[in-house]
Subunit: 167 residues, 2 copies
């Protein structure tokens, strides 16, 4: 049976929640990654993916500047990098240079891939929509990449940024 409650309590039932990393270059050419839980596939044909990014985040300007982004499915062993990317701002640090993530150049957009991820999707910006305190960006997937080794995806498994694989 359902009982009415506060949103803040009800939304705690959401776990596990997928984790992605979106990467776009700023106007100095610096590739800026941000960790996000609010993401979904948005279209099948053509394939599109959506991300919701906090309106105050440095990534907003990067995605608008690049008009493209890499959407990364990080692997379970990338929890430390995901936490770092999600808790620091590209205004203050070069997040890619500050971590030991291996990268590769993207093939069709001016961005990076994360080599140890499960998969990387290169997206060109299709649209943006304001939604409350976030901006929804929809990207069209123009190229896809997977890891040569099988990897498990990373999830937030419980409140307080508990990250890990699920089964």
């Amino acid at each position: 049976m359902q009982v009415q409650t506060q949103y803040e309590k009800a939304i705690k039932t959401k776990y596990p929640e997928q984790v992605v990393i979106a990467i776009a270059r700023d106007d100095h050419g610096k590739a800026n990654p941000v960790t996000l839980g609010w993401t979904m596939i948005a279209s099948g044909k053509p394939p599109m993916m959506a991300i919701a990014v906090a309106a105050k985040h440095y990534s907003i300007g990067c995605i608008r500047h690049s008009r493209s982004f890499t959407l990364v499915f990080p692997s379970a062993e990338m929890a430390e990098a995901a936490l770092f990317f999600g808790s620091h701002s590209g205004r203050d640090v070069d997040k890619i240079a500050s971590c030991e993530c291996k990268t590769q150049p993207a093939a069709e957009i001016d961005s990076l891939l994360l080599s140890d991820a499960v998969a990387n999707f290169e997206c060109t910006l299709e649209s943006e929509t304001q939604a409350g305190d976030h901006i929804i960006f929809v990207g069209k997937v123009v190229t896809s990449h997977v890891n040569t080794e099988p990897k498990k995806r990373l999830y937030t498994t419980a409140p307080g940024h508990k990250l890990g694989p699920v089964s």
Copy 2:
């Protein structure tokens, strides 16, 4: 290391993927549920949720008519109902009447809650955006409900509509 591949292959790394059910009334007053994997939170303050619904689905007209929808987190034991709601059209059947799902009236919108779910969020329509072959609807959460008993959420765990809990 990443290797380029087809989207259809790369996207198979997405599992487990969360499952939600969106419910909106059509212009005859029939509450029509649809099962969706493409959903995300879209704003924190105010809380908003986004769903991507195939443009040809009956639910499109229901959501536009109601200008609101219930977003349901089904529980792991609701796999059968979720499969039924996702594989039949409201054009042909009354999906709620055809299944044994317990329902309750929504509190602030003209819709239903699913009693055995993990949680139900009542949303008023904020915006819609076309994305390829889908429509992204953003709803503002106006009221939330949780189950009086602890329940596990339902996920698609593998291709071919394999549904179940994760841990």
